[in-house]
Symmetry: C2
Subunit: 469 residues, 2 copies
Amino acid sequence: MWGIELQKKSKISLARQIFLSLKQRILTGEIAQGEELPSTRELAKGLGVSRNTVCDAYDMLLTEGFIVSRQGALSRVAEGLHIVQKEVVSLKEHKKEHVPVRWDFKTGQPDLSLFPWPLWSQMIRHATNTLSAQQLEYSGPKGYEPLCQEIAHWLMRNRSIDVNPEDIFITSGATQAFHLLVDILYKEDYAFALENPSHPGIHTVLQDRGHLLQWMPVDQQGANISCIRDKDISAVYVTPSHQFPLGGILPATRRAALIRLASEKDFYVIEDDYDSEFRYSGAPVSPIYSMDSSRVVYVGTFSKTLFPSLRIGFTILPKPLQAKWKHYRNFMDVQNPVLEQVALTEFLRKRKMDKHIQHMRRIYAEKRNVLLNAVEHSFCNAVQFWGDASGLHVALQFPGMEFTKEFMLSCQNAGIRIQAVSQYCSVQNNHTDKLLMGYGHLNNTQIRKGVKALFQLIAENSSQGLALK
Amino acid sequence: MWGIELQKKSKISLARQIFLSLKQRILTGEIAQGEELPSTRELAKGLGVSRNTVCDAYDMLLTEGFIVSRQGALSRVAEGLHIVQKEVVSLKEHKKEHVPVRWDFKTGQPDLSLFPWPLWSQMIRHATNTLSAQQLEYSGPKGYEPLCQEIAHWLMRNRSIDVNPEDIFITSGATQAFHLLVDILYKEDYAFALENPSHPGIHTVLQDRGHLLQWMPVDQQGANISCIRDKDISAVYVTPSHQFPLGGILPATRRAALIRLASEKDFYVIEDDYDSEFRYSGAPVSPIYSMDSSRVVYVGTFSKTLFPSLRIGFTILPKPLQAKWKHYRNFMDVQNPVLEQVALTEFLRKRKMDKHIQHMRRIYAEKRNVLLNAVEHSFCNAVQFWGDASGLHVALQFPGMEFTKEFMLSCQNAGIRIQAVSQYCSVQNNHTDKLLMGYGHLNNTQIRKGVKALFQLIAENSSQGLALK
């Protein structure tokens, strides 16, 4: 009957099935515009359903304007409904066959198997027990106020900086902070200054927007800012506590010069303090923020100290940027979910964070020692370490070697996931002799065997001249 | 001794106190560059602390480059550290004194007091019990796959649309979807077409970016698309199931014409299906997506059906847009937190969502009746309703009246929070005689008393000529 096939056991009601079937045939032109539909009585009889069912279906067609009806006349198909449907081309992604990764030295990877999940679950449970109906509402782009307060206390305990909770803004990780700051700090014809090499996060956003970039070369002490002195700069992005990826600590003289320049030329310094919690030797390094809080936007994250899929970070914003930040965040995603914010507040308040970080610092310090020893054992004096005093990775320099694309491909084919520093560089590239080794997530055996595998591969490639200059 | 005052009971270690104090005085220039610091023995004696403590403090200064030291010589303050600190001007926000809100008719407000929080807490607990360490990692910009699958089932049950879970992308609410779509669909010199009036979400993002806009007038049936026929359009944003804010249902003829035009001129239709779950009379309205899934980007959210601070929504993306979406989301905030996604999966899988929405639909239908009755009782025939068949608000038209800024201010002063439709309009404004009344969050008494208060205010203002043309 009218090409309608009903399935009595379907979860979709009979009326809806009739509606969907008629609608489909109207759209494809099988039932032409102006054509009369059968009367409800007739169709009901034909399909063996109640007349009410057909009336419901016709009502749906009427509500959505597929048919028009006049008192006493049969319903007709409305004009102008026919759509010529294009064939949908199936765009099946071409999947490359990869050699499985056996030794994974990717960077920025915390050891999640040691995360105190039962304790965190307690905090979540506490949060579900304390949240009120009012807190299910939007609470605005700044973030959960008690969390901002606890972060301020935490920053005093952990980084010795004195921050007004009013200036702390919760984010979905550091990534979101960089995205927002690009929009907030943008000035036409002014450049963003980045370290070369640097993390692709902020770099990619700037590239996508087509904004001007100014690269600052990086040496063992971090960024060299002298090249930006006579440029028009809207903001400078730096990783002063542990340059990413080379690990240098920006010396106080450069810091002071940067702050003076920022003041003079009226730009902001974005301080990415991404790995500062894990420092293994030497004294803790203070953030630049502590030098001049009016010029520095401090960006912190809990992705490494807790876990990445938590999606909580924070920014300390100078007052003049706050209104713009609120506006942009409001129309970006409004705010973070409330539940994790309440849980994290309790985690910080009870000093569980302090304990967890102390614990992990010991663990990571041991892993780092295993890595350094394994590298020294395999490569003897052929290698220099960069930035091994903190963080979850080190950079290895092999003087005289050059890690070409071919070499990186042979790593992949050998099941070794490892990155060359040059992958993080702009076109001007002075770091072709360096590799990055992340170790936070590996156990001691994995580290030792991975280093051995890398050594063999480098030895083979060297003898074939692949990795040698 | 050297201006250092130690607090023995502080949580900050003595070494750190010494470090911070010396650092501060170096930065302000009180201790000049090149100046020698006292020997560690001397300072330790002077401060009454152990020599180790002072050594630690000096190590910190050395690490951060505040001092330089040579074997056998006293440490000296490094060059170029002095920062002239600007006076930080206190920018205390000027807080306006507001009359407290007594009758709050804001739109889009669910009744959160009826949210089944104990049930939701169970889902959260279930999620904390099932998450593995691996799931604490980044899982990428698409979203939690089992959630995408449950949303596909839900869409079939609730909206009768057949969606491949591969095409569903989780978002932080609809807000984030609009933000991303502006970046993804932007074409230079092409306009985004918006309904006039429309929601400020996507409009504001477009304005911030300085993109071209094309307004489509809205009548009782929704957007009139004839004005975009000969324009260069990159995307059309519509609310076809319940136009925001006027409530019209876009008729099938206009839908088909829109899809044909999109195909012809190669643009995408963004379908904001924001309120479709709450429909009180007539048959359910299908999304445009069901007409041509290759041309429509469907945007849904759980902010109204569950709660706003959950921050979960989703988008159904045509294949050609998916790679770009992933790229932009990756550098925006990477992904949603994992916990709520797992909880929502279970909530959908167990059909708790279906039950909750059925329950709330009954509740909101009653509130809506109370509102309609109260308005009819007070205003008799002076009022026409727009879009009262679904959603959490209605628009009221008062033919012959004009709701001026002065009138809206007098509402505020009378403790009535209410919005005029004209607040959502572009400059061309044909809706100055309409008010919006949100009722989802109000109880029956609040609705009745609020309508009465509004009636009195309009009556007073009419007699003073304020709200009359």
